[in-house]
Symmetry: C2
Subunit: 375 residues, 2 copies
């Protein structure tokens, strides 16, 4: 059995999501739960149908409340430390769907101190550039500016630091040590940080002076933060935040680990890549589940499960189940060649990025609308 590791700071190996569910103590999203969601949303996002969002904590409680007319808000975030890539967009696209379907407010945290504290050679100056750049990608996805509030930890510290202290008072070093693998050489800012990440899960309740349920869509590697948050918030009189968790968009190199900007540029498709870069990266680096020769491929067929191009279509770029099924079968039968499959993906990515980049330009004038001021 292959080994894998999932922490908020790195993901490696061939992630066994069933095993992760047991290890983390999260719950798989089953058909019954999908039916409950569908009752409210009428359709199911393909990321739910295909179990890209595969696990949750307390989602039924959020639906109970919603059915009683007690709306939840969404909370997710992005620690700016580099360019945004496709792996980042995946949960945000789903979050926008949730916002639309449930009419939910979204509190989007940009913890600009996180990577500063965790990366040795990163300065606040560099982070500030990434912060503004990353905001464009979020805005470009089309979140409702009237219902979406950007919170930047250092800019909104007046709202957040005091609340973070309330959380911090209930978390000991020994708790973060085991949750995050800290030790005696960990810096005291990194040790404190999880308290800041907890705050947006109850900040709207403070600002609106009533207790509002919170749902956090996020990639499963962030679960240790929110596990702590869930332990603490009821002690402060707030709802335990619920979560809905997705698997990782793999890097181009293969189905191990996750797409990450800390890896080689070639393993990652960034949102500002040109059509030529995308084409080159997919053609040159996207791991293929095809066979060594065309002859062998036609005979034995490809392995879509291992093929990055197919996986990107499944997880992100081909929402139509019928079309995806046809691609799957044609590839598995050997009818569809690796190059042809890659062409399909390249076209899909480039058409997505063309539109995304256009909206990204427009977003430059919209940051002010999204930054939270006050009610």
């Amino acid at each position: 059995m292959k080994k894998f590791s999932v922490t908020p700071w790195s993901v490696s190996g061939n992630v066994d999501y069933d095993k992760l569910i047991k290890e983390f103590g999260i719950e798989a999203i089953n058909e019954k739960l999908l039916e409950r969601i569908k009752k409210q949303t009428r359709d199911l996002h393909f990321m739910l149908r295909r179990k890209v969002f595969f696990a949750h904590r307390d989602l039924p409680r959020i639906l109970d409340e919603y059915e009683k007319g007690n709306k939840f808000f969404l909370y997710t975030g992005r620690a700016p430390s580099g360019k945004v890539h496709l792996g980042h967009l995946l949960p945000w696209i789903f979050t926008k769907w949730l916002q639309d379907k449930f009419g939910a407010e979204l509190w989007f945290q940009f913890p600009d101190e996180e990577k500063f504290l965790f990366k040795k050679n990163l300065s606040f100056k560099e982070i500030e550039n990434f912060l503004n750049d990353n905001m464009l990608d979020v805005i470009a996805l089309g979140f409702n500016p009237k219902k979406t509030f950007f919170i930047v930890d250092t800019i909104h510290a007046n709202l957040m630091y005091k609340e973070a202290c309330k959380v911090a008072k209930k978390i000991t070093f020994s708790m973060v040590k085991s949750s995050f693998g800290f030790n005696e050489t960990t810096n005291i800012g990194a040790i404190f940080y999880t308290s800041m990440q907890a705050v947006p899960a109850f900040l709207p309740s403070i600002l609106k002076k009533r207790n509002i349920p919170c749902l956090i869509p996020h990639a499963v590697d962030q679960d240790p933060h929110f596990r702590l948050t869930r332990d603490i918030l009821p002690k402060l009189g707030y709802y335990k935040p619920a979560s809905i968790q997705c698997s990782f968009l793999p890097p181009l190199s293969g189905t191990q680990g996750k797409m990450s900007s800390s890896k080689l540029e070639q393993e990652t498709v960034f949102t500002i890549d040109s059509p030529e870069e995308v084409e080159m990266k997919i053609k040159k680096y996207a791991f293929s589940g095809g066979r060594a020769t065309i002859k062998e491929h036609r005979e034995k067929g490809g392995i879509p499960e291992k093929d990055i191009s197919f996986q990107y279509l499944r997880m992100f770029f081909e929402p139509d189940d019928e079309k995806l099924k046809a691609i799957y079968e044609n590839y598995k039968s050997g009818k569809l060649l690796t190059n042809e499959l890659k062409e399909i993906l390249i076209e899909k990515i480039n058409s997505f990025l063309k539109e995304h980049q256009r909206k990204r330009e427009l977003a430059k004038k919209q940051i002010g609308k999204f930054l939270f001021k006050s009610f």
Copy 2:
């Protein structure tokens, strides 16, 4: 030899200040240094003459800079968690003298999260009341409102949190563990806190965009915080802050430990005490260096070194060396009885507090003038 212990959170035993100088690695204030100060100030505050302020770090460097025309600013503070007592006022009175003599700006920090993080049952609501109340005592001492800036950690977190992260990145758990005696059960807010206490030592340099030397007058128990601060600030490109440190005003019960609001109310004279309360506390609780009977006292004389009333006169209420000397000699010779000595102190404290309480009332309308806004 008696044992004693001095940490930022408690002082106990008969403090041996010579030993403390060696343990902490601070420097005694010697006659040569006093002469240098006197050159600038023309006279010497009695707290300097009498070695109430007895130690320092890097004070000569501050004077070097001052002589070159490079003015320093002062930084001190108060963690609100109870009523202000005479022990708190002592270093602040000296700080005002420094402000007047050196024309220095004073940055006065109210770290309202500190005691919240370190005291189990203290809420932010209680602290907020103390905060406003404590500010009155500071203002009442007559600091120059044009040169004095109050910084409240949770109110000014927008200015402070990012800077605190820069400090925190350079401090490991193992460093705070040894400096403050933390362990695995210490909460992560308390672990982070020292970074916030470091910020006012370079905040004016940031706000004014030039590097300004900093002098911190404080009671010696806070030295562990500033020792860390001194290690870190040069790494961030700022001056190592200098400090000037005082001994503790003892509690009424005797010359062990320090006056503290965590002790019994009877051991402490608060700034809002009535003349009757002061009289009662001094008469009933102020430890006497007198003898068991008047006869014995007349014969053998009192012991001013052990007498709390005499110590309060020496450290705080009798600035006139001649008068103090006369009291000392009369008490030592047995001419002055304990009751008479206590009457002298009661009159001094009550006349001080009458004026202080009057200014405290006026201060209620001045808080806004002292709270830092921006330049």
